[in-house]
Structure formats: C-alpha cells, structure tokens
C-alpha cells in the first residue's frame, strides 16, 4: 500500500509499484485534468507538482512517491495564482485546442513561483518541456508575461 498526499488529501493506493502516477491520478482518482501526450517525458502534458517541484507524472512510478505531496491542475484551481493565469491565458489567446494547457499552466505556475519576473528567454526555458502544436508558443509566452505583471507580488510566496 502506498500513501501520499493528493491535492491536500491523504490517499492510499494498492496500485503496483511501477504504475505511473499519471494513470493512478486519472484512473483511480478521476483527476483527468492531467493529460497524457507522449508518455515519454517529452511533451509535458502530464505535468504535476511533486513536493512543489514540476515533474512529468508519466515517468513517475507510484512506488517512489510514498509520503510525497502531489498537486495536480485540479489542486491549484481555487488559488489566486490560477485565476490570474486563467485570465492571462484567455486574454493573450494562449489556448487553442487546450490539450497542452493543464501542463502548460503547471509549468507557468512553477516558473513564476521561483521567478516572479521572468524575461522572455526565462519564460521560454520554463515552458521548454511543454509542447503545444496549435499556438506557436508566442501567445503562451505573452500569457505568462501578463500573469507575471498582473500577479505582482502574488507569486513571491507559495
């Protein structure tokens, strides 16, 4: 039995140790905001926070996260930071098909919480593990930049 914290709630799973965190959160806990794209750590659609660090849930065997604190896109949706990212992505036109967006928002939140005023190059580096096949990235970079400005001070502490 593996015990961990999922979006602030203590949970237990009897999934086999090599089961991917991605499959466990989607199939067992029905948190389907986290997407599977490539399944190889290249696209970032499955990004979650593990102990506050951005990681690809498709590469994480559930057995290695005993006692860890996992936060998915659903776990940040009530936060002020999320509201700002939500508005900024809408305003900048950063969302088209939307499949990459949960991962993109997690990467954006991870970046801004470490670096509240990123340069364009730092934004591109921050989302470099997230593929988007619709927007061409410029609108997403604009969205993150806008979120940094709008959220002035909010990203400092997390």
């Amino acid at each position: 039995m593996i015990t961990f914290t999922l979006n602030g709630r203590k949970v237990e799973t009897d999934a086999p140790a090599t089961a991917r965190l991605l499959d466990v959160i989607r199939d067992e806990y029905e948190l389907i905001g986290t997407k599977e794209g490539c399944g190889e750590g290249e696209c970032g659609a499955c990004s979650v926070f593990v102990n506050n660090l951005l990681q690809n849930s498709c590469l994480i065997p559930i057995g290695s996260i005993e006692g860890a604190d996992i936060i998915t896109i659903e776990g940040i949706m009530e936060s002020k930071q999320f509201k700002i990212l939500d508005e900024s992505y809408s305003h900048a036109g950063g969302v088209q098909c939307g499949y990459c967006i949960p991962g993109m928002v997690m990467a954006s939140a991870a970046l801004l919480s470490q670096n509240p005023n990123p340069s364009e190059a730092e934004i591109r580096e921050g989302i470099s593990g997230n593929l988007c096949r619709c927007t061409g990235y410029n609108m997403i970079v604009d969205a993150v930049s806008l979120a940094a400005k709008k959220g002035d001070g909010l990203w400092q502490k997390k």
Partner: protein
C-alpha cells in the same frame, strides 16, 4: 489482473545494500530512463523483469562535499539540485542545462545518467575529461573505478548486482586552474538527445600546455577519448601550430566512427565533431578559472 510486482523502498542505504546482496534487482533513481525503456500501453504499469529497488529518496546518496581538492557528488542528486549547488563547476552546470527540460531535471539524477550509459549521455563527455571516478558501495565495502572503465558499451556498465553507485568524484577539480568547455549539438535546445557532444579540458603553465583532454559523445558506442593523442600535445605552446592541429584532427578522424540513425547521419556527426575539436584547438587565449 496485473501480475504482482515486487518493489522495495528502504529508509536507509544499509538496508538497501543488504537487499541487493540477497537478490538481483533493478535499481530506480529518478526513473526517467527506466520508465521509458519499459513503457507499456496507457494504464498498464511498465513491466520491469526484476524486483525493484527505489533509491532516489536516500539522503546518503544526495550529499555534495569537498574532500581536499576532490569534489564528491552524491549519485542521487537531481540535475536541479546540482544546478543550485555552488560547489558544482560551471561547465557541468552548462551541460546539465542542456538536459531535457525543467520537469525532467527535477527528477533525473547524475548517477542515473552514468549508469544508463547511453552513447549520447549528456554529462558523460565532461565527466570523462574531468577523469571522474565512481564510488561503488556494497555490503562488502567501497570500490573506486574510473568512469572510462566503468562504462563498457551501449548501456553496459561494470556494476556488480550487489553494488550501488554512491558518488561521482571529480578529482582535483576544486583548485585546478583548468579551462573546461562543453558543447552539445541537438535539434533544439530542450528535450533533444545529442547528435554530438564534446568536452575539452586544458591546463596551461604560461603558454605551455601542462594537460589537455578531449572527449566526444554520441559518435560511437561509448565516449571517444584518446590519451595517446592528448599526450602528443603536452609541453607544446599555445597557440598551436597548424601542423599540430592538423595532426590531432587527423588522429581523431581515424577513431571517430559514428553511425546513421533517426537523429543524424554519420557524416554530419563526424564533421561537427571535428569542427568542435578544431575550434577548441584554435583557442589562442585561455581564461584560467
């Protein structure tokens, strides 16, 4: 119903080593290579053909410290942890920044990069020019082996089943006034596996070369380094003469034997590798660090 999978996650390294001494296991640190290698269908756990031992949480494998002039790096330090650590030399940080993207750097480990022994392992060219030594630990004690002896071929390493790679040691790295460069050529900056990797190391006394080392990655089954070629340059003056440079390039031309694959062609790889070498040899001024 899924088959039963046996996995261990001990709180201490000692217990982990005892288990490894009893049973041949697959060791998982960050898992970023293993989980891809054994990837199955959606919803189906990867089938790893041995019991599993998780080691990424073991604090004994996460220390970074100086011992006299040597730098000891715990094998389970993630790339992100190393990027934040002031003891890590800047060329190694440069190599780490070229690895994948932030989310993988938060998970993948330096020890994993070594033990995965990929021909394109990003940190390997640099670890070779640093003459890195590996500290392997088992219930019977420690043993130290040079990285060039440890890595024997494509994903082939000289690790006994009861051993764990505990530390990567960079000898004399702390005070040595060497200039070290690292270059990686890939399709894009993030998430790209190297087409060619190159590391160069030079230590001067005035204009005289005291020590010089080169290693190429992704152009053969393992890293390409030649102590014989390096020796020919020791004692020479910087800038090197055109004939010395030509001699070295010609010598590597003979031993660099890349392949065509989905990432690149043999001819491209060889051309780029030799150009990186020429560029390094043409340095007329070396900043001592």
């Amino acid at each position: 119903m899924a088959e039963k999978i046996i996995a261990y996650r001990f709180n201490q390294l000692d217990q982990t080593l005892i288990q490894l001494n009893k049973e041949n296991c697959a060791i998982i640190a960050g898992g970023t290579d293993v989980m891809v290698m054994y990837k199955s269908r959606r919803g189906v756990p990867p089938k790893i053909p041995k019991p599993i031992v998780f080691i990424d949480h073991l604090s004994e494998l996460k220390q970074v410290y100086q011992n006299q002039k040597d730098l000891h790096i715990g094998a389970c330090c993630t790339y992100s942890e190393l990027l934040k650590n002031p003891l890590i030399p800047s060329p190694l940080k440069k190599a780490i920044r070229t690895i994948a993207a932030p989310a993988i750097r938060n998970r993948g480990t330096l020890g994993g990069n070594v033990c995965n022994a990929s021909p394109a392992g990003d940190t390997l060219p640099l670890l070779y020019v640093y003459n890195a030594k590996l500290l392997l630990r088992s219930v019977h004690g420690d043993r130290i082996v040079a990285i060039s002896d440890f890595i024997q071929g494509v994903r082939r390493i000289q690790r006994e089943p009861n051993e764990i790679l505990a530390e990567i040691i960079l000898p004399s790295v702390v005070e040595e006034g060497a200039h070290v460069v690292f270059e990686k050529v890939g399709n894009r900056n993030a998430d790209a596996i190297a087409k060619v990797g190159f590391a160069g190391y030079i230590r001067l006394n005035g204009a005289v070369i005291e020590d010089i080392r080169f290693t190429f990655g992704a152009v053969g089954p393992t890293m390409v380094r030649s102590i014989d070629i390096e020796k020919k340059l020791i004692g020479k003056n910087i800038p090197l003469t055109d004939s010395d440079k030509a001699l070295v390039v010609a010598a590597f031309d003979k031993i660099i034997k890349p392949i065509d694959d989905q990432r690149s062609t043999a001819i491209y790889r060889k051309t780029v590798a030799l150009n990186l070498l020429r560029h390094f040899l043409s340095m007329t001024q070396v900043q001592q660090k």
